[in-house]
Symmetry: C2
Subunit: 176 residues, 2 copies
């Protein structure tokens, strides 16, 4: 019982957390666009930062979008200078999309967003939070896989691959 209640309480706090993140984000005009990481143009950037030089077809498969949407996003990103397009020589039908340096930088910037608010946590608390997030993330991962055992959505595959890469290997380059 107490457990359920505590869970509810925590859930509430997580909502608050999202809320505050949201406010903080549009308060400081710095437009980190953290929210846009997982949609539209952001998705493309993400996919490319996982594996550069993908054909639009590849993107379509990985991101589970229509070719048209994909083309649209790629075009927009190109206009912004974040990606470049070139025709494949091997197969003149295919367009190869790649991240420009600027795009790479942008993607970095979007993901980093090292939340300042973490600075209030003690070393111990950071450790606790890390362990907790590992556990929770792993659980979500399982849930997702249960929901879609074959994981048809390539985007999800990509993302999970990302996560798995970080969640279970030694996972740090601690060499200070």
């Amino acid at each position: 019982m107490a457990d359920l209640m505590k869970q509810g309480k925590t859930a509430g706090k997580l909502v608050e957390f999202g809320l505050l993140q949201n406010i903080a984000e549009d308060d400081s005009k710095h437009q980190s666009d953290y929210k846009m990481l997982f949609q539209g143009q952001g998705k493309i950037l993400l996919a490319l930062s996982d594996h550069d030089r993908l054909s639009q077809k590849d993107l379509v498969e990985r991101l589970d979008l229509t070719p048209q949407s994909t083309a649209e996003f790629v075009r927009k990103l190109e206009k912004k200078g974040f990606v470049s397009r070139e025709k494949s020589v091997a197969d003149k039908r295919v367009t190869i999309v790649s991240l420009t340096d600027q795009g790479r930088a942008e993607t970095q910037k979007r993901m980093q967003v090292i939340p300042q608010y973490l600075r209030v946590l003690t070393d111990q608390e950071l450790g606790q939070l890390n362990r907790i997030l590992d556990k929770v993330n792993e659980r979500m991962l399982q849930d997702i896989q249960e929901e879609d055992p074959t994981l048809h959505n390539k985007y999800h595959q990509l993302m999970l691959h990302h996560v798995l890469n970080k969640v279970h290997p030694d996972q740090s380059v601690e060499h200070d």
Copy 2:
């Protein structure tokens, strides 16, 4: 040094967390639209669940939107059956917006999203997470207030009021 690194690590895990939340959300078709809680129509719902029966003017002030946008969102919500509108008798210019039962239910549903994944945490971990979130949330709150000492944005005020209400009082109707 170690601290900064740990912070970075945690930040990474938080990104993963967002990622997974996102995937989980559009995997299970239940369209909780958690992401839309803080924008447009969601904002309106939120404001009304804080204080029902507001005039559009009130909404405008609280949400920091133009009257036109507000009217638009309200109209859309009305079309969906989430809110109802009535003319004030006292002042025939004003329209009073209130949540319908359906709207109330919807709002509940959107906010609840009691994250199942919290079930993997032990009682102790929940406690830790609660403390951590309190700390972090409080810090974000301060940051926000520093950024805008007078807190011009009424929406933020509303939200902070929400948060403050939960962050420090006893905060629960614990009667299982």
